[in-house]
Amino acid sequence: MNAHSVAVVWLVRRWIALVLAVGLLVLPGCGGGSSPSNGSSPSSGSSPNSSSLRSPYAAITGPNVQPIAVNGDFAYGYPNDVLTSVTICVPGTATCQTIPNILVDTGSSGLRIISSQLDLALPAVMSGSTPLGECVEFVDSYVWGPVVTADVAIADEKAAAVPIQMLGSPDFAAPPSLCSSSGLPEQDTVESFGANGVLGVGLFAYDCGPACMPQSAATPAIYYSCPSASAPCTPTAVPLANQVQNPVWRFPQDNNGVIISLPPVDASGAASVAGTVVFGIGTASNNGLGSAQVYTTDAQGSFITVYQGKAYPGSYLDTGTSVLALLDPVTLGIPLCAANTATGGLYCPSTTVSATATTQGANGTIGTVGFSIANANTLASPPNWAFNDVATPFGAAPEAFVWGLPFFFGRNVFVAIEGQSTPAGVGPYWAY
């Protein structure tokens, strides 16, 4: 298709979307605005009413604030790819490099950089006398590479000598078979990863934690001892100090968590969204919890979502998942988009569906969360890049609602790190 015909198709799709949207506005009883109780049936309607949110989006400024953005500016980005920049230095020196287009991820902990984007020579973290490698899985891929040490600077915050991971290092051993045996694709290039790296600012201080320590009952195949580029790597236990760590908890201050602050977007999406990640919870004048409700998680970083009376105990919030992942076409009564297309696997309702669920913390906190699912084909037209209503099914157990990036638009969401004190208690928790 040439540019002209693409534009015509886009205009036609827009027109159809507009007609549908107007149609919804004049239909009585089509939801939106009201605040139904626990687990209402899905209904056609507009986005959930943001005025009912306990912690709605409010712009935050200050020295502990780092811009984040969702837009189409990065050549290898994808819709709802939320990116920021990070400065990395050789430990204890002023030899530094700022790397843009780093994914902001509340579903993982630790900084990982695609090695081709890194110009610095960073010291290796050793397992005994051999270099340490790591295999990390994300929702739909794995990454592999050596653990190195760097000073990490973001906004006015700086963490000294933090273990981080280099991905796809050409001088390092190849991924072990125990790493690739998940069958997930390897994403150690900028093009495949969709970013220059990932800044994991999730619930954990350490990426693996006690399970990977020498005292653990068994060593999971996550960290590896890699004697040389050609010799096979073997799984190894790693003390906490050498594990890849959430840089936030290593800051001298504002180190108990973050706020992900993203403005709302329209149901049809937005071309560009500018928000912030704010460091610290209740540590400065600009990062108080306000009216946000605190939901503690279980040891794995999950909590419960209840929908129509059924509990989904593996649920979690994750800026690194670009869609909502929940339920199935039968339960929702809406079809999937055609397979083998760009939107294959996403929901494609004829009109936008809105519903509510309740989220429940391990501490007993209960709150209502509204969500909308629009037709992904309608949304797929350019130029929009940020969406609050794209969703895909998910059914493995423990069953889960995966509250991906669409959940975060229009909210200030607090992520408190395990073991760190905050005015609302010790992490891990989410608050919103």
Binding site: Y78, P79, N80, D81, G107, S108, S109, C135, V136, E137, F138, V139, D140, L178, S181, S182, G183, L184, P185, S192, G200, G202, F204, G209, A211, S216, A217, A218, T219, P220, A221, I222, Q300, G301, S302, G314, Y316, D318, T321, S322, V323, A325, D328, P329, V330, L336, A342, G344, G345, L346, T392, P393, F394, G395, A396, A397, P398, E399, A400, V402
Partner: protein, 184 residues
Amino acid sequence: MRHALVCGLRVRDRRHEEGAEDAASREAGVIQHKGVPMKTALAVFVSVWVSAGPAWAGLGQPAASVLADQQRMHAQLRTRANDSYTVQQIEVADGTVVREYVSPAGLVFGVAWQGLKVPDLTQLLGAYFPVYQAAVPAPVRRRAPVVVHTEALVVEMSGHMRAFVGRAYVPSLVPRDVTPEVIQ
């Protein structure tokens, strides 16, 4: 295709749930484990400690391969049975839990897992691993759970750091009176 599949199965599932208590007494079965017969209801487990590294019977393989794999496994094995299928639950010391669902015909028709990381699917999916790899969606411009739905194989997996979950089953091997939703 998936629509029809899940729809038809949900009906059976509902009946299954509603009659769960009746079914429990009706289905109270006998587990043969290490030659020791045991009266059991749905949720009664038998535990055995075995030694060595994790290995699993493959999807579509005979259940006997689960028992053979025990010899090489540093894991706790629990067996649970009813009239329709048997569940072999394998608990590895690193916290990984794998459940294998065995049909009355003796074949592993489904597997489910949860743990710190995704287990070795080359073993767990066995001969179906190439089918899974071929069906994993080509890189799409999103970051979302992996969902493979073909007539030959269903795989669903997701998770976040420290908590990965997934399941896989072969629709043609699932016993007629069983809904795939039991594979969890």
